[in-house]
């Protein structure tokens, strides 16, 4: 087990932050479902997570030049990307309510799953401390 409680949760802590950010982005899409010229956005969770794992895991890259990419395991501030519309609207809005609702519910479930993982880790830690 890791020495610090902060790193104990590992990727789940980062995943929870990403899930919360994604929930916010999709909530913005749903809120602007009737706003003209609004472009729906989303976060590429998989890409961001693998980026995090590549940098936070033991095998981080050695930087020998100041122009090398930062590999300190930080999520940084990745840009939300625009969704590719499958039904263009006359007013320039690219929100598909049904897709967004499904994505929001999916994200909420995954958020709860991540919470469960962290919950389990806390329980493990607690039983280790108590020793019962």
């Amino acid at each position: 087990m890791s020495a610090s409680v902060d790193s104990y949760f590992g990727m789940h802590e980062a995943a929870l932050r990403l899930r919360a950010a994604r929930a916010e982005t999709i909530a913005s899409n749903l809120a602007n479902a009737d706003t003209p010229n609004y472009q729906a956005r989303d976060i590429d969770f998989k890409a961001l997570m693998s980026e995090y794992q590549g940098t936070a895991g033991g095998a981080s890259l050695r930087t020998t030049n100041s122009r090398h990419l930062n590999t300190t395991g930080d999520l940084g501030n990745p840009e939300a990307m625009y969704r590719v519309p499958n039904q263009p609207a006359v007013d320039g809005n690219t929100v598909d309510s049904q897709t967004e609702k499904a994505a929001f519910m999916e994200n909420a479930l995954q958020y709860q799953a991540t919470l469960r993982f962290i919950d389990g880790q806390i329980k493990t830690l607690r039983s280790a401390i108590r020793g019962d």
Partner: protein
């Protein structure tokens, strides 16, 4: 916790949609309000929605929530309906009455659309609240 912003965003959307519903109700209520002069005739109103973007570039990074605002309410410039009804008590000296340019079918569609959007945002708030509650009781 960035999730608190969801309440602001969904709240702004609910407020905008209820404004839209109000305007629709006003249009439907006045769909048959005849008058004897063009200037006094009711004209259909429509709210104008706009996204509340944070920075001037219009691009936002991860997790930057974008709410909705009602920019204003515009009156429709569609031609009014004029009807020849000399027996009508509101008829002008030539025997014409002027009726509003409210399209009832369009307004009904608007009403359904805004009520559905409102419902969606209520669901979003409920889900976000549930997630926050779960997060608060984490490790208990």
């Amino acid at each position: 916790m960035s999730m608190f912003k969801i309440f602001d965003v969904a709240g702004s959307a609910m407020s905008a949609q209820s404004t839209r519903l109000n305007v629709t109700a006003s249009n439907l209520a006045n769909a048959n309000s005849v008058s004897s002069s063009i200037d006094q005739t009711y004209r259909a109103r429509q709210p104008v929605f706009a996204a509340m973007l944070n920075d001037e570039s219009g691009q936002s990074g991860m997790g930057e929530a974008v709410g909705v605002q009602v920019r204003g309410i515009v009156e429709s410039q569609a031609p009014l309906q004029t009807q020849y009804a000399p027996d009508h008590p509101m008829a002008d000296e030539n025997g014409y009455i002027h009726m509003p340019n409210v399209n009832v079918v369009e307004e009904m569609a608007n009403m359904i659309s805004s009520s559905r959007s409102y419902q969606t945002n209520v669901e979003v708030v409920n889900t976000a609240k549930q997630l926050m509650m779960r997060t608060l009781t984490m490790g208990q």
